[in-house]
Symmetry: C2
Subunit: 349 residues, 2 copies
Amino acid sequence: MLLMMCHAYTQIVYHDAARFPLLGKATEATGTRYERFPDSLKNISRAPLWNLSRNSAGMAIRFRSNSTKIAAKWETLGNNHMNHMTDVGVKGLDLYCLQKDGKWRFVNSGRPTGKTTQATIIANMQPEEREYMLYLPLYDGLVSLSIGVDSLSTITQPAVESPVRTKPVVFYGTSILQGGCANRPGMAHTNIISRRLNRECINLGFSGNALLDLEVARIMAEVDAGVFVLDFVPNASVKQMQERMETFYNIIRKKHPDTPIVFIEDPIFTHSLFDQNIAREVQRKNQTLNEIFTLLKKKGEKNIYLIHSDKMLGDDGEATVDGIHFTDLGMMRYADLVCPFIQKLIKKK
Amino acid sequence: MLLMMCHAYTQIVYHDAARFPLLGKATEATGTRYERFPDSLKNISRAPLWNLSRNSAGMAIRFRSNSTKIAAKWETLGNNHMNHMTDVGVKGLDLYCLQKDGKWRFVNSGRPTGKTTQATIIANMQPEEREYMLYLPLYDGLVSLSIGVDSLSTITQPAVESPVRTKPVVFYGTSILQGGCANRPGMAHTNIISRRLNRECINLGFSGNALLDLEVARIMAEVDAGVFVLDFVPNASVKQMQERMETFYNIIRKKHPDTPIVFIEDPIFTHSLFDQNIAREVQRKNQTLNEIFTLLKKKGEKNIYLIHSDKMLGDDGEATVDGIHFTDLGMMRYADLVCPFIQKLIKKK
């Protein structure tokens, strides 16, 4: 009886998430926690790019607990909202749990109610020790984050095995890569791919701003990566590709002579079947990408790969919310195409 | 040169959507246009159920046009917002086009910017005559709706073939059935199924309120349906099922002695792997549904069917935004399970 009462009246105690490993960051520079660029870029990057680097896309906290309940308290930077993406995806949290078969399983999401939210993510669990991954907001930043567990339970450091944090996959790209428009943070394709590979992925997706800014290549080059994925075509213009793509590539290549670098074509946006301007733009940009890729090959560049987009979104036209941005259906289809490709490159090494 | 200028300066002219057929309504009662219940239920239905009946879930406008651009102007009833669903799904529009192979293809969505929105849905098309379907908001109502086309183009009555509007499929259910949480209106599973069958479907999904209210059965019984689908288990309690399920069924059956009536089990909510209370509730409710279904069979009821939910959401746990409500991934998986079943019943007749 006493036990039952204890159980019923269990208090939630909050622990600063700063105590636990943060996955998905390109740099460990001081002055930042939930930001993707180091402070050193503040006066270097264009303002829109810098602002987007404050979004915590692709980051996750890992921890262990035997609590029957997992809660969270978090304050977002901008309390952002978009009309084609859920608030859960924009500024919510997303909890996964490592299963006995080594696979990650969705537990539940943390649904934001404003700039600051306190929410129970899951309750009524057996009090067993579990390993968790908590994905952070895709289109907002975090001022603070605490994880809540039963007062009588443990919350401890995770068993992040070394292969997970060795040789991460570094992705550079656009709004889609940043996670637009996943229903919840765990469904951004870099996060799906990270779970499938059981390997850290770093998301350098910048909505509307994957314009081949060279300082991003320099940040990427600092990472001891297993594979680099360059998926900038939806944002970069033909002119920008012609002017900067080879330089961007060379900055990374110079520091990583043998690491696979993968280029990805512009998706065949679903409304390109109707909008002739979009159809022409996709065709023209992909042609440019293929030309520059062929040129690199001719120059003798090794370990470069190109993923074609004709099968990226399936053939039913249903995988986007607005012709461009992927729903969870599109995110899964992208992961189905790209993940086996990356896996093969990692095994090859 | 003159032609080019004409094209560039084309004005958009708006046409009241009331001029065109509205699909997905159970009753043609006067006093309503984009509402799902007739005014006669105003003082009969419980207030929350009545209010949800003002939402235009599952409805669509059909029209033809040779415009190069399709735009829309619409005013919503409540300017509703939810943190686990996109505004596009809640209060936006969604345009599809009939292809030469007889299949419907997503064109683009109308993204809401407030209580009233004016938005271009698609532009830069070849000026060919096309047949369109414009899906209406899932979690809001409409005060007004106009469709915008080039001033020099035609907008005409659709070629809704008679099989499309004969013997519709009538669905009764919960928030999930109402379309929670599709990314855009066309991805509510009743709309996916309607496209796949090329047959009108009627969405009587009421968020949190599929409590077997008998007046809903009476509304359903008025429809000359091909199949009735009863998917209320996520909302109805065991007690409500025991008290009302047979009566609800009998109201429909009495008017439709030979029409197939399909019952659907509670989905195995993805967080039921962790939340033991949810797991027990799903198990208990599905047991009750199966018991009452078996009882109906024993009583000699014919043309009743039960769809089990064990494979409804796939096996990866990824198909919901919050453990309960389906993302587009979940909506597609539900349609993949339920649609062939309905198709077989229609063919059998």
